[in-house]
């Protein structure tokens, strides 16, 4: 059995022996993206399991081991991981946990430490925790983020964004129920299969795949009666994770809406871009800036390929590239606003509005510090400039009830319907007048 080794600060390390013996448990935020990322890790020789549990026990476990005023995502992620170990499904002495660490002024950078504290409280101090980050925080002998893995993870995220984007645009309109979900599943499996044979992770496969996926989704028969489109923005975890947002997407689908969820790529580029901005604003190492710039350009290129593939389909709405989105916040926030989702959150709201999606749910954990500023704090200014915007801010936490959240979303939807009717009426009256104009 692998020996427990600590570094000089007393942190338990994930050793090379552990890599062979241990199963790494990872939380899940985005089902498609994370399934692919998990495969990438497996290709590097790690044994990885993705947790998909979603019952109340997770919240209870979280409440037990995490300070209750800590943000909801931390409570859920930590609850989910510990609950998994305690479930008896795994040998606690043969599991490790992996969690992302963004680094930055938001308290989210502390999740990993809260997780370790929680493990200790639960009597599981012997379980190693791996930090997944690009900042060079916390190194482990048994885990390394090599360039190949980084690139594959980036591919996974782009694939994930594409499939999510297409699925969201198909599902509300599918004629045969379940067709979209089946298509999603088919492509996730297909990509995993490609990964297994070291395919799909090379530049030429990548471009080919983007086109194949887009074409395949375009073949789903749809009934394109217009539906109300609702954008979802917010703190990264509650925005994406059904566990975090009480199945918000499903709720919106049930209400007869089309949910529009901006992807993950922008967030990744945003985090890299922040390092460049820091040097611009405050001075710093130009070499560091250059490295970040190269990485940013690389991902932006992949994003451009995605956008191109979607545009070529002529069926689907394509997202805007990062640099276009970035321009939108001028006059609202500075680019130095980088903690949490930072200026990107405001930018995403503006992107949606520019795209004609005026109805937006802005999600955040109760008491989320950055969102006081970039979410709730910007709604007033956005509404001043874009009166058609119809934004509702919803807080999520272990005590918030679904009924209150849904009631507020329903109000937003009622207004959306009213606005739609007005537009429709205006259109009809314009159409009626048109012949007169032509004379």
């Amino acid at each position: 059995m692998a020996e427990l080794k600590y570094d000089k600060t007393g942190r338990l390390l994930f050793t090379k022996e552990m890599k062979k013996e241990y199963t790494i448990l990872m939380p899940q935020m985005l089902p498609i993206h994370f399934s692919l990322m998990r495969k990438c890790l497996e290709l590097e020789g790690y044994k990885v399991e993705m947790l998909t549990s979603s019952h109340r026990g997770i919240v209870d476990t979280g409440l037990k081991y995490v300070h209750n005023d800590t943000c909801y995502p931390a409570l859920l992620v930590i609850g989910q991981l510990i609950e998994a170990i305690e479930s008896g499904k795994y040998d606690p002495h043969k599991v490790a946990l992996i969690i992302t660490q963004t680094g930055g002024g938001c308290r989210a950078s502390n999740y990993i430490h809260l997780l370790r504290k929680a493990l200790k409280k639960a009597g599981l101090g012997f379980v190693p925790v791996i930090s997944l980050n690009l900042s060079g925080l916390e190194k482990n002998p048994g885990f390394s983020l090599n360039l190949r893995l980084i690139i594959r993870l980036i591919y996974s995220i782009v694939y994930g964004d594409l499939i999510m984007l297409l699925a969201n645009q198909c599902k509300p309109y599918e004629i045969e129920q379940g067709a979209t979900d089946r298509m999603t599943e088919k492509w996730v499996n297909n990509l995993i299969d490609q990964f297994k044979h070291s395919k799909g992770v090379w530049a030429k496969d990548f471009k080919k795949n983007l086109k194949l996926i887009t074409d395949d989704f375009a073949s789903i028969p749809l009934n394109k009666t217009p539906k109300i489109k609702v954008g979802i923005v917010g703190e990264i975890y509650v925005k994406f994770s059904p566990l975090g947002n009480n199945n918000l997407e499903q709720f919106l689908l049930d209400e007869g809406c089309e949910p529009v969820v901006p992807g993950l790529i922008d967030f990744i580029i945003f985090k890299i871009n922040n390092r460049i901005t820091d040097v611009d604003l405050y001075g710093g190492n130009p070499l560091k800036k250059l490295v970040c710039l190269i990485l940013q350009r690389y991902i932006e290129k992949r994003q451009a390929e995605l956008i191109e593939a979607v545009k070529e389909s002529k069926v689907f709405r394509a997202p805007e590239p990062f640099y276009e989105i970035r321009k939108k916040v001028r006059g609202y926030l500075g680019y130095g606003n980088k903690m949490g989702e930072g200026w990107l959150l405001t930018a995403e709201m503006l992107e949606l509005i520019d795209d004609g999606i005026y109805n937006i749910v802005c999600t955040q954990p109760f008491g989320c510090l950055p969102n006081h500023i970039v979410g709730k704090g910007m709604i007033r200014a956005i509404k001043n400039n874009r009166p058609e915007a119809n934004i509702v801010a919803i807080d999520y936490d272990p005590g918030a009830t679904k009924i209150n959240q849904e009631n507020r979303i329903k109000l937003m939807l009622a207004n959306a319907k009213l606005a739609e009717e007005k537009v429709h009426k205006a259109k009809v009256s314009v159409e009626q007048k048109e012949p007169v104009v032509q004379k």
């Binding site: 007393g10 109340r56 409440l63 037990k64 300070h67 209750n68 005023d69 800590t70 002024g105 938001c106 308290r107 950078s109 502390n110 990993i112 430490h113 809260l114 504290k117 409280k121 639960a122 604003l281 405050y282 001075g283 710093g284 609202y332 926030l333 500075g334 130095g336 606003n337 980088k338 903690m339 949490g340 109760f366 008491g367 510090l369 950055p370 969102n371 006081h372 500023i373 970039v374 704090g377 910007m378 007033r380 200014a381 509404k383 009166p387 807080d395 936490d397 272990p398 005590g399 918030a400 009830t401 679904k402 009924i403 009631n407 507020r408 329903k410 109000l411 009622a414 207004n415 009213l418």
Partner: protein
């Protein structure tokens, strides 16, 4: 025929319109959580009016959503329905304010339709008034009437019900006039509506007021009219204000297809079966036999009673003047109970105690002699002064004494009273850690009681219902307000009263375990757990606690009287020959009157209640320090808060050629002001600071706060900006600073997101800022060379100042800041030396630089001084501990100071740390735990005080006195290291 059905959180409304949309029927009734039954009943009652079979019908309201879902009847969102009705009836309306049972809503019509509902934290409104009326022991109608006779209005926190309650309780205990309190309660509702809902828009023009509370309560109307400066014409109170939303739903129904009335009825009646409760818990007792065994086990911990007729000799009196109840115990030297009393204090503890004392004297007759008396609890000082009680002691000590009487090995005590929850660990015979509930989670006994009443039961009856509930509902473990909506959801899902009762008991317990005690493993509580407080007399709560902990605990039969019992034991320890308490004859002439006034001796402007007793004795309460008592502070102990504050406020504007530049005095300006002041003064600007914070400054900016859960120091910034604008300042400087200075004790040196970016939030929400020069550049002061270059460019561009001049100003700024830091350090050393030479102990009142604002800390520093403590701050000792690694990511400058200060004091026997935490500070969820760990690992006590708008220091005082008493005990037991 159009029918609207509005099923709210507490009431059902039905409105019927004829074909030309005239209202021909309306009804309004409370549903006591029997949502479906009541709806059906009311529809049936309306049946004779609805004489046609074909109707168009719409449901609305928070509980209506569930019925609509399961019955298939159309639903319209209530705010939407309301807007529709107002558009038809009052086209001139600019805004609508609607208060319901638990929701508050606002609709703006002019300048773009905008609708808002209260956020999840803003709490109930109608339900809040209900709770407050219960607290005052009057009906809502009486509260309304009383409020019209007010003379003054107290500051009551308007964030949520729980907070307001914490403010009101001490006012009552101090003897404030009920009329004034009533009006203050209604004013809090108004403030909450404005603060929580307006969010950056002013409520003006013609305002329509709707909803039950505003329909029935004239006093509430008056408060709104006065606050919003409306008149008879612009304040509109529709005749059907109580049913207006329902009317809107009926109007909406006109767009729906016709249905069979009988079919609609049937659908609603049958809708229950389709819903399944999603989250339920294990029953408390599966069988009656289990319950009997449980009772049997707990009957063992009893205090023997003795018939006073058969006893003669000495006796000792203990009084516990609690927040909602008054308890009184008379014991023999052997601890037998001669007489006991437990009852609600009905808002006036003085009266209750007076009556009880008369009763005690009657019982004593000539044979029993009272040799000592002691009082504890919220009303301690008032009662002590009123009746000349021999001893006043802090309640934690009283409880400890009592618990030890029943179990001398007790190592954990949990007390859940009406208003607060206390628990303390006992190690080596001394109180080792004290935990009190934060203002946010105090859903304790009185919560259960109010809830029972709201559902139409008395508390005993209600609690019993839960004992054998089959599927208790899971209501979570957050604050009262959240529980209210959880209950609402459970009702929607068709939960029975029994299941809700059991669920509430479990909730209270979970709150205690996960919010207050916060211990995942019961082994950490020790083997001998004593539970007490009135709430534990409730078997359902007790059982929930044992089940949740997975172990049995001791509940003394006098669980509700433990404070008084402990006080009596303490009175006995005094070993007096004769108690000084008012004699029987003195009591006969006893009179008590009170009068309100405001202390003007410092900027805190404490509300004072002057209590006058017979014989010309006076007792003044509500003051933070001794000054209000008419005594000038004699000792004037050193106080770093005062020192820092005075230092910053002494940085005066100097007239300069470049004109005025305004700086809002809040958040990180409390750290960086010396820097910016020197910088701008050197450049020839007159640096104008916003005025000192107070409640008025806060109110001034309240209407532009977009997020009601942000911390109070941040909220104050809105007022400071408004104040500067009002002064006619046309240039305001407030930089964004994600990075702070690097003090070499942390891995990174961030500010928190709120401190870092609040300037941008202000720019986006305070409209007037767009009309002046508002500068909010991004700066990083930790990189001096880069800053000099960047600042030169920036200020050169903004003001056309030469770069050399700017560079020189930058140097002066760094020097001024460094001087300030040095002065703070030096003063810290001076205070420590002074304390040691004069035998005072030292409290490190740790927090953030902006906690030195008296409006933020509410004078806690002065309070500590008055308790004979010298006060220093974390930042004057943090440099003494050096850098090390912690179990958290140590990346915020201010927080790194906390860790270091904590580590430093573990080596200083005469220092204790008290951490101030702003409500809503997400980062302190992390720092608080870490600081606690650092301290407790080294055998130190940890005390945390949450501060917000809350004005009254009663709870804080108890906490600090408990800490001091614990320190005393430890000192006496001679344990090292504390």
């Amino acid at each position: 025929m159009l029918v609207g059905i509005d099923v709210g959180s507490t009431t059902v409304k039905v409105v019927v319109l004829d074909d030309s949309k005239n209202m021909i029927y309306k009804a309004y009734e409370r549903h006591y959580s029997k949502v479906r039954e009541k709806t059906v009943e009311m529809l049936k009652a309306a049946a004779p009016i609805i004489n046609s079979d074909k109707i168009q019908v719409a449901l609305t309201g928070s509980a209506g959503l569930g019925i609509a879902k399961s019955s298939g009847v159309d639903f319209v969102q209530e705010v939407f329905a309301c807007a529709k009705a107002v558009e038809v009836e009052y086209p001139q309306a600019d805004a609508v304010i609607e208060l319901g049972g638990e929701d508050a809503k606002i609709i703006f019509f002019k300048g773009g339709l905008e609708e808002r509902m209260n956020g999840s934290c803003a709490g109930g409104t109608g339900a809040f008034i209900d709770q407050m009326a219960t607290l005052l022991n009057i009906t809502i109608e009486e509260l309304d009437k009383l409020s019209m006779q007010h003379e003054k209005i107290y500051k009551i926190a308007s964030r949520c019900g729980v907070f307001a309650k914490t403010d009101i309780q001490p006012l009552l205990n101090q003897g404030a006039r009920k009329a004034d309190v009533a009006a203050s309660i209604l004013q809090a509702v108004v403030d909450q509506t404005i603060a929580g809902l307006a969010q950056g828009r002013r409520i003006e023009g013609n305002v329509v007021f709707l909803g039950g509370p505003l329909y029935f309560l004239k006093g509430l109307r008056q408060r709104f009219i006065e606050t919003l400066k409306l008149d008879d014409k612009s304040a509109i109170f529709p005749e059907n204000g109580d049913c207006f939303v329902c009317y809107g739903a009926a109007l909406y129904a006109a767009s729906l297809k016709e249905r069979d009335f009988s079919d609609v009825l049937k659908r609603i009646e049958n809708s229950k079966e389709k819903t399944e409760l999603t989250q339920t818990l294990q029953p408390l007792f599966k069988t009656h036999k289990q319950y009997e065994e449980f009772l049997q086990r707990h009957s063992k911990a009893d205090a023997p009673k003795i018939d006073p007729e058969k006893y003669s000799g000495p006796a000792y009196l203990g009084i516990d003047a609690g927040s909602t109840t008054t308890k009184l115990v008379l014991i023999t030297p052997e601890g037998q109970i001669l007489y006991s009393y437990y009852s609600s204090n009905k808002g006036n503890p003085v009266n209750v105690v007076k009556q009880q004392l008369e009763k005690v004297y009657e019982i004593c007759g000539d044979t029993i002699k009272i040799l000592g008396s002691a009082v504890t609890g919220y009303g301690e000082e008032l009662i002590k002064n009123a009746f000349k009680v021999d001893l006043g002691l802090v309640e934690t000590m009283a409880h400890l004494k009592a618990a030890r009487h029943f179990n001398k090995d007790v190592d954990f005590i949990l007390d859940i009273g009406g208003q607060d929850m206390k628990c303390f660990k006992i190690r080596n015979g001394a109180v080792d850690g004290i935990m009190l509930n934060e203002a946010c989670s105090s859903g304790c006994g009185s919560f259960l009681e109010t809830f029972a009443k709201a559902l139409g039961y008395d508390i005993q009856e209600f609690a019993k219902l839960g004992l054998f509930a089959q599927k208790p509902v899971d209501l979570g473990s957050r604050c009262t307000v959240f529980m209210n909506s959880s209950v609402k959801q459970a009702q929607k899902e068709g939960a029975s009263i029994e299941d809700i009762s059991a669920g509430l008991s479990i909730s209270v317990v979970k709150n205690a375990i996960y919010k207050v005690i916060r211990i995942p493993n019961p082994d950490e509580l020790g083997k001998n757990i004593v539970v007490q407080g009135g709430t534990f007399l409730n078997d359902a709560v007790l059982r929930s606690f044992e089940l949740e902990l997975g172990r049995n605990v001791t509940r003394p039969a006098i669980a509700g009287l433990m404070g008084a019992f402990g006080a009596a034991l303490a009175a006995m320890e005094l070993e007096l020959e004769q108690s000084a308490i008012l004699s029987r004859s003195e009591l006969e002439n006893f009179e008590h009157t009170s009068r309100q006034t405001v202390c003007r001796r410092c900027t805190n402007h404490c509300n004072l209640t002057v209590n006058m007793f017979s014989g010309g004795r006076r007792f003044i309460s509500g003051n933070r320090c001794e000054r209000g008592l008419g005594i000038e502070q004699t000792k004037n102990l050193p106080n770093m808060y005062r020192f820092k504050y005075n230092y910053l406020r002494s940085l005066k504007p100097e007239k300069g050629p470049r004109g005025k530049i305004g700086i809002p005095m809040g958040l990180n300006m409390y750290e960086n002001l010396p820097f910016w002041h020197a910088f701008f003064t050197s450049l020839g600007f007159e640096v104008v600071l916003s005025p000192e914070s107070n409640r008025n400054i806060y109110s001034k900016g309240q209407y532009t706060i977009p997020s009601d859960t942000v911390c109070y120091p941040a909220k104050l910034m809105h007022g400071h900006i408004e104040a500067l604008l009002d002064e006619g300042i046309t240039t305001i400087f407030y930089p964004c600073m994600p990075y702070n200075f690097d003090e070499g004790i942390s891995d990174n040196h961030y500010n928190c997101p709120v401190v870092a970016y609040y300037p941008e939030l202000l720019s986006a929400n305070v409209e007037r800022l767009s009309r002046i020069k508002y500068l909010m550049p991004y700066f990083n002061l930790s990189r001096k060379r880069d800053f000099k270059r960047i600042a030169s460019d920036y200020f050169n561009k903004e003001f056309e100042i030469g770069k050399d001049e700017i560079a020189a100003a930058v140097d002066k700024a760094y020097k001024a800041y460094s001087d300030y830091r040095k002065a703070v350090f030096k003063e810290g050393q001076r205070i420590i030396k002074f304390a040691r030479e004069n035998g005072y102990s030292i409290i490190v009142l740790a927090g953030r630089p902006y906690h030195i604002d008296p409006e933020v800390n509410h004078g806690i520093d002065n309070l500590l001084n008055s308790l004979d403590q010298c006060v220093i701050t974390e930042d004057c000792i943090s440099s003494l501990a050096g850098k090390t690694s912690y179990r958290v990511l140590n990346q915020w400058t201010y927080h790194a100071r906390l860790y270091n200060a904590a580590r430093y004091i573990t080596t200083q026997p005469d220092m204790q740390l008290v951490q101030l935490v702003s409500f809503g500070c997400g980062i302190d969820a992390i720092t608080g735990d870490e600081v606690r760990e650092i301290l407790e690992k080294n055998g130190k006590l940890y005390t945390q005080i949450k501060i917000d708008e809350i004005y009254n220091l009663g709870a804080v005082k108890i906490r600090l006195r408990s800490l001091l008493a614990a320190m005393e005990e430890v000192k006496r037991s001679g344990r090292a290291k504390v």
